[in-house]
Structures are given as C-alpha cells and as structure tokens.
C-alpha cells in the first residue's frame, strides 16, 4: 500500500439546488517518493482533494490512509499530531505567522511537536539554509519577498521531517522565475530526500516536474501521465 491511499472517497458541498459533488468515489495510491501533480480546471476539486489527504477536512464517505494510518474517526488531538509529524503543507498565499521571524516560523511545528529549544533553532537554521535563506533567519515575513516567503513556508513544511508535502498551487502568487526556483527546490527535495510531493496547479511548468499527473474532471480522477502531451491537457493561462 502506498504512503497515501484513498478508497472510494466522496466529498460534496451543500449548494443552491442539489449537493455539489466534488469528488465521487475517488481511488488513489501514491507511493513514497513520488512527485504527483493534481490538475484540472478551476473548481474541479484539486484543493478539496489535498485538504482531504491532509486531514484538514473529512470526506463524506470512503477511507484515507496516510502512511498506513486511517484518518477516519480520529479526534482533533490525533489528527493534529498526524498533520504535525507526517505531513507538510505549502499554500498559495504562504500563510506564515507575521509576528514571528523566518526562523521562528520554521520552528513552530517543532514547538507543537514538543522539541527542545536549542534543537529547534538548529533545525530551523539548517532548513532555512537548505532553502537558500541563510541570511534571512531573523526577518519577519513582512520584510521578505513572495518567493522568500514561500521558501520559509517550505522550510516550515519540512520541519518535522514529514514523508509527504502537500502543496496547493504553491506558485500561484509568484512570477515565473521565482516559481521555477521553488519547483527546483521541490524537485531536489524529492530527489535527494525522498519526500513525496502532491502539488495542485494550473501551471505547465509545475506539471513538467511531476512524475505523475492526475486529472480531475467531474469528480473523478484520471491518471494522464502516459496519455496525451501535457500542453493539450491544460487550460491556457
């Protein structure tokens, strides 16, 4: 069984007339070390899928396993611990804590994990160096560029050495050059450290890094990795 495993996962939202069925019985297996891109038009359910995998939301039915652990029926405490230890999140709008410095932002998952102060600081420094921000440890997010913020967010996502990083349009707020830099970083983390990536995106450049493409249409997932060339698959941006 893969590090991420979905079985017959359905999710719908209440809407004006009937319920809006975003995912209809999705099955998915992702192995450790894979780099997966979730693609599809806006509103197709990419974020919904990532949120479910990340235990940020609950499916209406079906089972989701992360590293063998069933997320269903877990209490808040356990889900929080799973998110903390097994998963790292990267968001389109970074979501850093503005009152904390870069190093403190990176260290917060470790605070929540209960790691001792000195080890935390060392780990945060190491991670910020890894993402190319060695000189910006003590800056608050307000004094960093968008690309730098996203690097801090990536360092934060890596803090607890998660097996999986879930990135929901991580380059959505970045210019092309910066976005390329972020994707290089993802690729090297995937290659060198075996971190599993699931990235949702509209950006062909991002998709080009992925070893596997998952197309979301009308609530179903289709693996399009070996189908058509990718540019036909994507809406023009």
């Amino acid at each position: 069984m893969g590090v991420i495993s979905l079985r017959a996962v359905s999710k719908s939202y209440p809407s004006a007339d009937a319920r809006l069925e975003v995912l209809r019985g999705v099955d998915l297996e992702i192995d450790a070390g894979e780099f997966v891109a979730a693609i599809g038009p806006s509103g197709s359910g990419k974020s919904t899928l990532l949120n479910l995998i990340g235990g940020l939301d609950h499916p209406d039915s079906g089972t989701i396993r992360i590293d063998g652990l069933d997320l269903g029926g877990r209490d808040d405490r356990t889900l929080a611990a799973i998110r903390n230890k097994k998963l790292g999140f990267v968001f389109q709008s970074f979501h850093l804590i503005p009152v904390l410095t870069a190093a403190e932002n990176v260290a917060w998952p470790l605070v929540l994990k209960g790691m001792e102060r000195r080890s935390r600081a060392a780990r945060a420094t190491e991670l910020l160096e890894r993402v190319g921000l060695a000189g910006h440890l003590h800056r608050t997010p307000g004094r960093l560029s968008g690309g730098q913020r996203q690097r801090v967010a990536i360092a934060r996502a890596l803090a607890c050495r998660p097996k999986i990083i879930l990135a929901d349009e991580p380059t959505g707020n970045l210019d092309a050059v910066t976005a390329a830099g972020i994707m290089e970083l993802f690729a090297s983390l995937n290659r060198e450290e075996g971190v599993t990536f699931v990235v949702s995106t509209h950006d062909p450049m991002v998709v080009s890094h992925a070893g596997r493409r998952l197309q979301l249409t009308e609530g179903t997932l289709r693996d399009t990795s070996r189908e058509r060339p990718l540019h036909e698959d994507l809406p023009h941006v």
Partner: protein, 407 residues
C-alpha cells in the same frame, strides 16, 4: 508554553492602536475601581478609628456575667480590683493605654435647665490617648489632680446653657438605689464627631462617677492599642493575662460592640460590588470586541497553525493568554495610574467631604490604596478579560481549517 506566551504577547502588540484603546479602557476601569475602593477603605478606616478612639477602645474587659446581668443587677458585675489587671495589661507591647470606665445616665442641671446626660467616668491619666478624636472647642481637657472638672459635648453646652467654669449638677441613682447628686465644674467643651453623642456627652474623673454611684469598683476596663491591625494578635495575650487572676472576666472586641460599623461596611461593600460589576462588564465588552476582531483578522494564521499541527486547545490557550495579557497590561498600568491619582489627591490636600450622617464635621477624603483594594481591582479586571476572551478563543478553535485557509 513559553513559546505560546511569546506568540500571544507579540500578537497583543501587533495592532498597536487597537491594543492601546483597549488597554486604556481597562486602565480607566481599573483606576475608577481602585479609587472608589480606596475612598471607601479610607472612610472605613476613619469610621473605625473614630469609633475605637472616641468610645470603644480596641478591647473592653468586664467582670464575668456582665453581658447577662448589666441591666438586671449592674452592681454584681463590676470589676472589684481593676488596678492590678490594668497594670499587667499595660505592660504588654503594643498596648497604648489601659483605662477604667464607669458610665451611667442621669439628669444634668445648671439650675436653669435640666437635660438627659450620659456620664462617663474616666481616669484622666489613662485618657490622653483617647483625646485624639475629641476636638476641644473651648476650655481645657481633663487633667489629673482636678477631681471636680468635667468635659461636656458641644451640643450639651447649648442645651444646658453652661459655659466653661460653670457648675453642673448630675442627678442619678446609686447602685444602692438611692437618688444621689454630684457636682462638676465645666473644664472644657468638646466635639466627638457625633452630634447625637455630643448632646448627652459628659466626661468626669472616675472618682466623681464612683461617688455618684456609691461604689469603689469600675464597670469596665478599656484597652487601646497602638495599631488596630495588632488586635487579633494581642487579644489572646490579653486573655492570657486575665486568666492569671482569680476573678473571671469577659472581653469584647470593638467590632463586637459597634454593630453599626458592620452595617456601614456591608452597605458600602454592596455599593462597591455593584460598581465593580458595572466596570467589569464595560471591560468585558471592550476586550471581547478586541479579541473577536483579532480572531477574524487572523483566520488565515489560525488555519496555518492548525495545518502544522496545533490542536484546538492550543488555539484556545493562545487567545486566552492574549486576553489575559491585555488584562494584565491594563491592570498593571491601572495600578500606576491609581497611584498617581491617589498621590495627586494627597498632594492637593484631599477632597473636601460634607459631614457624614450623624456627624458634626466634614472631612478631607483621600484614597487609601491598600493591598486589598488593588488586589480586588486587579482580580475584577483580569477576571473580566479572561471571561471575555473565552468565547473568541473558543470560536477560533472551532473555525473549520479549510475555510480559515481560504483567507
């Protein structure tokens, strides 16, 4: 924990203007509470010391059975050998004065008019300590070696039409049941602070009172301490001294004798409680508003914290710490502000107050910022901020993560 506190504290200072406004409202509420509490405390102190030093002393000693038989058979409950008892108690450290009393009521007359009087026989030597709260309006105080001089209240002077130097005859019944008369010469006129008391007040040397009642004994021994706060420590030691004598004694503390003091304290404490409640509610609204805004503004961060592994309880704690932090900040500055206000009142000579009911003189009021007063104000403000942070903190912990992250 430290990291959570550090994060909360930084969040407090994040929106400076809003925090300043909130903290300011807490400071105002705190100062209002502390100053009002301090004013009440000052009034209590004044009332307490007036009561103790004009009439009751801190502790009164009677012969055993006094409280039961003083009306039916007063002669049987007199203290027969007071001198030795007084000498022993006077030796205790912290005791300012020990003095005998023999009081009775009778009719005072100057020949022209006759009025009711309440005579108190005292030992002029032990009495100096009590003079503090009696203001001499004319003449001089009682002096040892003047067995026939007496003091009368200001109102009684008007009633009798007597001046300093005039003779007044007091008519009463001796313990033996015989109508008896004694004369004293008005040595001075005093104001005790209570008009009612002033209109019957007569103070004479105890020998004169003993002559009127035809006895060599005394009714009670009054003990005055240097400091009212020492009473609870000294009372057992005084009782220990009394137990060395063959005679049995009863003792009463001033607060057991002054029922009205308790009533006044209860009334003002009630008023203060209502006031503190109102201030608490105002503080609560102010903090609740700030905290709710803080939660709304920070939903994105709340989502992020949850995503990186913060539990609901962590968020509750974070916002509670923030609320209490604002409360502590406001209360801390409130202490400083109250001190400044109390200091300013002190420096300008107090606030002129009209005479309290039943009293003849107005007084200058100050704010007594005692530990209790400040502690109460502190407790009310911090509790109010804590309570008002509860709902926003709970709401923050209940925000759905995916919705929070959409911010």
């Amino acid at each position: 924990m430290f990291d959570l506190v550090s994060l909360s504290v930084r969040n407090i200072f994040r929106n400076r203007r809003r925090t300043i406004i909130t903290v300011f409202s807490i400071v105002v509420g705190f100062s209002a509470m502390a100053c009002f509490g301090g004013f009440i405390e000052f009034s209590f102190e004044g009332l307490r010391e007036t009561t103790i030093r004009t009439r009751l002393g801190h502790l009164q000693i009677y012969a055993d059975g006094y409280s039961q038989h003083r009306v039916s058979d007063p002669e049987s409950v007199l203290i027969s050998e007071p001198d030795e008892v007084m000498a022993h108690i006077a030796k205790l450290p912290g005791v300012a004065a020990v003095t005998p009393r023999l009081s009775f009521s009778g009719l005072g007359s100057t020949g022209r008019t006759t009025v009711n009087v309440s005579v108190i026989g005292v030992d002029p030597e032990g009495e100096e300590e009590f003079a503090d709260f009696e203001t001499l309006v004319a003449g001089r105080p009682l002096e040892p070696g003047d067995p026939e001089g007496g003091l009368i209240g200001e109102e009684l002077r008007n009633g009798l039409g007597a001046e300093v130097g005039d003779w007044v005859t007091v008519l009463t019944t001796s313990f033996g049941g015989i109508i008896n008369a004694v004369d004293f010469r008005v040595a001075g006129v005093v104001r005790t602070g209570s008009k009612e008391y002033d209109s019957v007040f007569v103070k004479v040397p105890i020998e004169l009172a003993q002559r009127a009642k035809e006895t060599a004994e005394v009714e009670r021994i009054v003990v005055l301490l240097d400091d009212t706060d020492d009473l609870s420590a000294l009372q057992p030691r005084i009782e220990e001294v009394l137990s060395m004598f063959d005679d049995e004694f009863e003792t009463r503390r001033w607060d057991e004798l002054a029922g009205f003091y308790d009533a006044v304290v209860a009334l003002y404490t009630g008023i203060f409680t209502v006031f503190a409640g109102i201030v608490g509610v105002v503080v609560m609204f102010s903090v609740a508003n700030t905290m709710t805004m803080a939660v709304f503004e920070r939903t994105g961060e709340i989502g992020a914290l949850r995503a990186i592994g913060a539990r609901r309880s962590t968020l509750v704690a974070m916002f509670l710490i923030e609320g209490v932090g604002v409360g502590l900040l406001g209360a801390g500055l409130g202490v400083v502000a109250s001190w400044l206000i109390a200091g300013a009142v002190q420096a300008t000579g107090g606030i002129a107050m009209p005479p309290p009911p039943g009293m003849s003189q107005g007084f200058q009021a100050y704010f007594s910022l005692t530990g209790d007063v400040l502690r109460n104000a502190f407790a009310v403000t911090v509790a109010a901020t804590l309570v008002s942070a509860v709902y926003p903190a709970y709401a923050a912990s209940r925000i759905r993560i995916v919705e929070a992250l959409q911010q």
